[in-house]
């Protein structure tokens, strides 16, 4: 087996194992690591398909931003993020089983008539998948979607902040100028259990 075939084998096994771990892990942190494995595997497959630019984007955006965001949210939620409901409705399981069967049968029927005649890749152009080629395509035929995607990202950032920061004004405001007594509670004064200066209690 050539070295390219070995790369394909390693990356595809990583993809499938990571995907199963993402879905089946009871602890979502392990699921996030599985997602990371899948993403890195797919980046390797992008390299194999001579899409270097997309491989880099995949690693930067998915592995660098999306997975980190998931891990941050898991950290914020703590142990509650690992909630599992056992008595999940059977309908979902039946539907997913049917979906699995449809996908398996569909691929079988789609590929069976063409068994033996496969679409082989030729050797790619040296410019295939480079930043220059994708960029010229992007600014040649996709300028409007590109600009719209910048607007989408801005709206998403503003929306994420607006939704995620919750209600304001819940915290009590401290007075701008503290009364002198509070100002001079220093570490040198002896204190009782509640943290107040001991001499204040004595008075």
């Amino acid at each position: 087996m050539s070295s390219g075939g070995f790369l394909f084998l390693v990356c595809s096994v990583a993809c499938i194992v990571g995907a199963i771990a993402t879905v089946a892990a009871r602890n979502p942190v392990r699921g996030a690591v599985g997602l990371l494995t899948t993403i890195i595997g797919i980046a390797g497959l992008f390299l194999k398909l001579s899409a270097q630019f997309l491989a880099a984007i995949q690693l930067i955006v998915y592995a660098g931003a999306v997975v980190i965001l998931f891990v941050f949210v898991l950290m914020l939620l703590g142990a509650d993020a690992a909630a599992i409901r056992e008595d999940r409705a059977r309908v979902a399981k039946v539907v997913s089983g049917v979906l699995l069967a449809i996908m398996a049968l569909g691929t079988m029927f789609a590929l069976a008539p063409h068994a033996g005649e496969v679409t082989r890749f030729g050797s790619p152009l040296p410019s295939h998948g480079t930043v220059e080629a994708v960029g010229s395509m992007l600014f040649d035929q996709g300028v409007v979607p590109f600009e719209l995607s910048t607007a989408l990202l801005i709206v998403a950032v503003v929306g994420a902040i607006a939704v995620g920061r919750g209600k304001q004004g819940v915290f009590k405001k401290r007075p701008a100028v503290l009364p002198p007594k509070e100002m001079f509670i220093g570490p040198l004064l002896p204190r009782d259990e509640s943290g107040r200066p001991a001499d204040e209690v004595a008075r």
């Binding site: 087996m1 075939g5 790369l7 394909f8 084998l9 595809s12 993809c15 499938i16 995907a19 993402t22 879905v23 997602l35 993403i39 497959l45 398909l49 899409a51 630019f53 997309l54 984007i57 955006v61 998915y62 931003a65 999306v66 965001l69 998931f70 898991l74 914020l76 939620l77 509650d80 993020a81 909630a83 409901r85 999940r88 399981k93 979906l99 699995l100 996908m103 691929t107 590929l111 679409t119 082989r120 890749f121 030729g122 152009l125 295939h128 080629a133 994708v134 395509m137 035929q141 996709g142 979607p145 995607s149 989408l152 709206v155 998403a156 950032v157 994420a160 902040i161 939704v163 995620g164």
Partner: protein, 105 residues
Amino acid sequence: MMMMGQVLEHYVLLASVIFTIGAVGFLVRSNILVQLMSIELMLNAVNLALVAYNRVHDGDMGGQMFAFFIIAVAAAEVAVGLAIVLSYYRHRSTVLSDEADALKH
């Protein structure tokens, strides 16, 4: 299997397997965070299929352009989705999607 990784069908099969795993995870799991990760799996599978088909059409970068836009939209979707998850958790103290039944009552 000699030409493993040199054939379009291998990539399409792999993409369909990953997509199905993601779809099953989205349907079976009730944890919203795992459901979001399953959506990411499905988007990644579609990206893989797009780039694989693009490899056949040498010199045309249309498929990779689509994959680029899918990555951008997926990043936006994750940012907003996780903000909604945090907000939902603040309301109900849970991340189970079954508990999100405020519109029912």
